[in-house]
């Protein structure tokens, strides 16, 4: 069993930046994540159907974008953090061949609730902003 560290509420400051993550967008990733989130809409696994909507290829489903957003924050915070909310604005689609870079910064702290607001942005290298929003995490307080 590996020892996992979780950030304490007091260790985190507004302005802290999270380590960026690069995610290679492949057909395999788009199809696998769509099915793992139980999203069988054909635009996420059938290229011909996706092209009929005007896009070059299958594209990432929203539940996966949400999943990458929470993963990005809990990879940083550690496993005892509790995700309280996720507020996401959607931009350009992620299609195979792109790389999405996810960055984030702590924007606010609520001392009474022990909750931090993290602004997260996912930009792909071809079309720009894919997702932008806020994840709220409750972090353990005290020793």
């Amino acid at each position: 069993m590996t020892d996992y560290k979780t950030l304490n509420y007091d260790e985190v400051s507004v302005g802290d930046k999270l380590p960026p993550q690069d995610i290679d967008i492949t057909t395999g990733l788009i199809v696998s994540t769509a099915l793992a989130t139980r999203d069988y809409e054909p635009v996420h696994h059938d290229k011909a159907v996706a092209q009929a909507t005007g896009l070059p290829d299958v594209f990432m489903n929203i539940l996966t974008s949400q999943s990458f957003m929470t993963r990005f924050t809990t990879d940083w915070s550690g496993p005892e953090a509790v995700v309280k909310s996720l507020d996401i604005r959607l931009g350009a689609p992620n299609v195979p061949g792109m790389v999405m870079t996810v960055t984030g910064e702590v924007k606010a702290k609520d001392d009474d609730a022990g909750i931090i607001d993290i602004e997260v942005v996912g930009e792909n290298n071809i079309w720009g902003m894919h997702m932008q929003g806020t994840v709220q995490l409750a972090l353990p307080k005290g020793a």
Partner: protein, 321 residues
């Protein structure tokens, strides 16, 4: 759609506000380790709170939990969506009304999920959903349309609320060029280039020279005054006779700004946009490259070069001299 038709249409769509999309329904599968593991593998999430029962046993929770982002996944219909299509409900009826009236563009724009209680293997997720609100008609960048929002409420087998989800969708009339794009062939992913220079009657010659690697400055044939950007008449003597000289592209930064947001596809960042005072006396708007943005300052001596900046574009760019 005239005003009368629009009123009738809006009465129809607004009648869907408050309608139930689905009553409180249990997910086909209880929360389980296998589906969580499949999700964790695909997302690449190694959080032991989801997939490591041994770690979880000694954690503050005492057991593994489902990833919160899976909250909506549990109730998804699955493969029948492909095989038979979605079961009609108030939402699909509403979408159909939009489609019938030309608003056939669909774009998910926002999702907000709030989580009140974590669930673990063995729990059952229930979901109910209503059409919560529909906006007035909006002119958006995508086209004229309406935003509608569904509100899903999630609960467990004890009736405790697990969380909520607000999903906002834009239904819009797609512009003509977008309809043409639906012919999209099986082509490679096209990397966007910079916004193409507008070449008109009075400035095409300038851009054509730029394509040849030269920056020209227009000169009045009568009074010899230089001018830029290109225009038909001399501001000094009103002569319409002109020729041009080639700039040596030596100059200094007169003013500049750094463009941050929104990032435009096709441009490299950091992006410094400057007004350069050329040695010949005229000003030129161009990018400053070849140094950190912090190093750029007013009065900075620069030397320009006409360079290919992307597959389709030649532009003068300025370097610290």
């Amino acid at each position: 759609m005239n005003t009368e038709e629009q009123r009738t249409f809006e009465e129809l769509i607004y009648s869907y506000v408050g309608k139930q999309v689905c009553p409180r329904t249990a997910a086909k599968d209880a929360v389980n380790e296998a589906m969580i593991r499949h999700w964790a593998e695909a997302i690449g999430d190694r959080n032991p709170a989801y997939t490591d029962p041994e770690w979880a046993a000694q954690s503050s929770r005492g057991k593994t939990i489902a990833p919160p982002a899976m909250m909506y996944s549990w109730g998804q219909e699955g493969f029948p969506v492909v095989a038979q299509g979605r079961t009609p409900d108030a939402q699909s009826e509403l979408v159909e009304k939009f489609n019938e009236n030309g608003f056939f563009g669909t774009l998910g724009t926002n999702v907000k999920q709030e989580y009140f209680k974590e669930v673990s293997p063995g729990d059952t997720v229930y979901m109910e959903m209503v059409v919560d609100n529909i906006s007035e008609q909006k002119a958006t960048a995508r086209g004229i349309g309406y935003f509608f929002e569904t509100l899903a409420t999630f609960s467990d087998q004890h009736g405790d609320e697990i969380g909520t989800q607000r999903f906002r969708v834009l239904k819009f009339i797609p512009p003509a060029e977008q309809a043409a794009a639906t012919e999209s062939a099986d082509s490679a992913l096209e990397v966007p280039t910079r916004i193409a220079s507008p070449r008109g009657h009075d400035n095409k010659w300038w851009w054509d020279a730029c394509d040849e690697g030269k920056v020209l400055i227009q000169r009045c044939r009568d009074c010899q005054t230089l001018r830029h950007p290109p225009r038909p008449m001399c501001g000094e003597c009103q002569s319409m006779q002109w020729d041009s000289i080639e700039s040596a592209l030596a100059g200094e930064v007169l003013s500049f700004t750094e463009l941050h947001h929104p990032k435009i596809p096709g441009y490299q960042y950091p992006l410094i946009c400057a007004v350069i005072k050329l040695g010949e006396g005229t000003n030129l708007v161009a990018n400053v490259v070849g140094c950190e943005p912090e190093a750029v300052h007013i009065g900075m001596p620069v030397q320009g070069k006409v360079e290919q900046v992307d597959e389709k574009t030649m532009l003068p760019q300025f370097y610290p001299a």
